[in-house]
């Protein structure tokens, strides 16, 4: 069995998964209006960690998350030859040095945490986080490593903001995934971390089970979502088949839900095709914004908190269905025991990925 636990979330809502959960269940969002930050000095809604300052914000967040992980697992794990660290990120520390987006940070954490193996950076756009956790699960299953620490981190920068602005993809309100009035993403920053392991004993607190999933390309467009949801449909279908899980067993779907018109429409079509449209679903983007390479890890960690707290968390910002295929977007928090959940992600480059987590 592959275990997943020791989840950490560092976001504007808190520095541990528990702090974040308290804020989420209290309907708080990290999104605020930040003045004069746009390319033409517009005010833009962002989920920005205002307390984090200095030049090396990316590095600081990664260290915060790893230090928190250290408190939650057997301290021997970090230095073990059978432990790998995977860092999931799209742009790393690009804002400080375009030709050293990851390397310096990676070297520093190897030193600071006494890591035995060279970490692997996965940079696969917005599916990076889910892909990184799946990669961890694969490494454990094939017995290449015993433990994999997955850290997903991305920082809001002028680079990324101006980029999405010139694509006309930034929402003029806090993003409202799947809603009829959605008109774009709200960028977020943060760091998520989980530990994937072949051993239950390394965790101080009860871990959950990881059902490792798959990725699939849309083969359609490098920056436009597929109109048929083909890649997401294939990824989800294969993830269920591979783990011999029937779709009736899924209690909750943590969707990608960026709140762009086309992405959310694509997801609704894919879930409809996969016959999952009746299953309670949310997007965490209304709470954390879109944290890009961190999103898959942060949202998996938040979904794990939902399992632990037996709660279906509402999809913040959603009021009126805005997709051609109806899906079951959660409108208010509800106490419910969750046994098996599905997490999906889709991104630029046509990538789609999915995984499942099961309560033990």
């Amino acid at each position: 069995m592959t275990y997943i636990g020791a989840e950490v979330i560092v976001s504007p809502l808190g520095e541990t998964a528990e702090e974040n959960w308290l804020a989420l269940s209290d309907d708080q969002s990290g999104i605020t209006l930040v003045e004069d930050v746009g390319y033409n000095q517009e005010n833009i809604y962002l989920s920005k960690i205002l307390s984090l300052s200095g030049q090396n914000r990316f590095h600081q967040l990664v260290v915060k998350a790893l230090s928190e992980i250290q408190q939650q697992i057997d301290p021997q794990v970090f230095g073990s030859k059978k432990t790998l660290v995977i860092l999931s990120s799209t742009k790393g520390a690009l804002y400080s040095n375009v030709t050293d987006q990851f390397e310096s940070c990676v070297s520093a954490i190897v030193q600071q945490f006494g890591l035995a193996n060279q970490p692997v950076v996965i940079s696969n756009a917005c599916i990076s986080g889910v892909l990184a956790i799946n990669t961890a699960g694969n490494f454990i299953r094939e017995k290449i490593y015993d433990n994999v620490i997955v850290v997903g981190c991305d920082i809001i920068s002028d680079f990324v903001l101006y980029g999405f602005q010139c694509l006309f993809a930034i929402s003029n309100q806090p993003c409202v995934p799947f809603d009829t009035t959605r008109n774009g993403i709200t960028l977020g920053e943060g760091c998520g971390a989980v530990v994937v392991s072949a051993s239950k004993e390394i965790f101080h607190k009860q871990p959950l089970q990881l059902l490792t999933g798959t990725s699939a390309n849309d083969a359609n467009h490098i920056s436009g979502p597929s109109r048929t949801g083909e890649g997401l449909f294939r990824s989800v279908t294969k993830t269920l088949q591979m783990n011999k899980v029937d779709k009736g067993e899924i209690d909750f779907v943590s969707a990608h839900g960026t709140a762009t018109v086309y992405n959310d429409e694509m997801e609704a079509i894919a879930f409809d095709r996969a016959e999952l449209s009746h299953i309670p679903l949310n997007s965490f983007k209304g709470y954390f914004g879109h944290t890009l390479g961190a999103a898959g890890v942060i949202e998996t960690a938040a979904s794990m908190q939902m399992i632990r707290n037996a709660t279906l968390l509402k999809s913040k910002g959603f009021a009126k269905p805005g997709t051609s295929k109806l899906i079951n977007v959660i409108e208010k928090n509800e106490v419910k025991s969750l046994q098996t959940i599905l997490k999906t992600a889709s991104g630029f480059g046509g990538g789609n990925a999915s995984l499942m987590i099961r309560n033990l």
């Binding site: 010139c166 006309f168 467009h221 920056s223 436009g224």
Partner: protein, 85 residues
């Protein structure tokens, strides 16, 4: 010769890095986004918005507005003249 239209052709080739295409290859009424025309895509449409601001000082805040305006060189020229008058 309509200089605005000729300028537009040069600007489009420059802005979109269209290789192996000269202004003479672009007819005034050819459909820019049709595969039998120039075969431009949605990202090119956004570059045309950049072009309008850069060369003509016209700001397009709603990309849907661009869709109509960017059908052909003729419609682009018409749109620019209307916005400027």
């Amino acid at each position: 010769m309509d200089t605005l239209k000729e300028d537009l052709k040069k600007q489009i080739i420059e802005q979109l890095n269209l290789e192996e295409i000269t202004p003479a290859d672009i007819a005034d009424d050819v459909l820019l986004f049709n595969d039998s025309g120039l075969g431009l895509d949605s990202i090119d449409a956004l570059e045309l918005i950049v072009l309008l601001e850069k060369y003509h000082g016209i700001q397009v805040t709603n990309p849907d507005e661009g869709k109509e305006a960017f059908k052909s060189i003729d419609t682009m020229a018409e749109y620019i003249r209307k916005r400027k008058s």
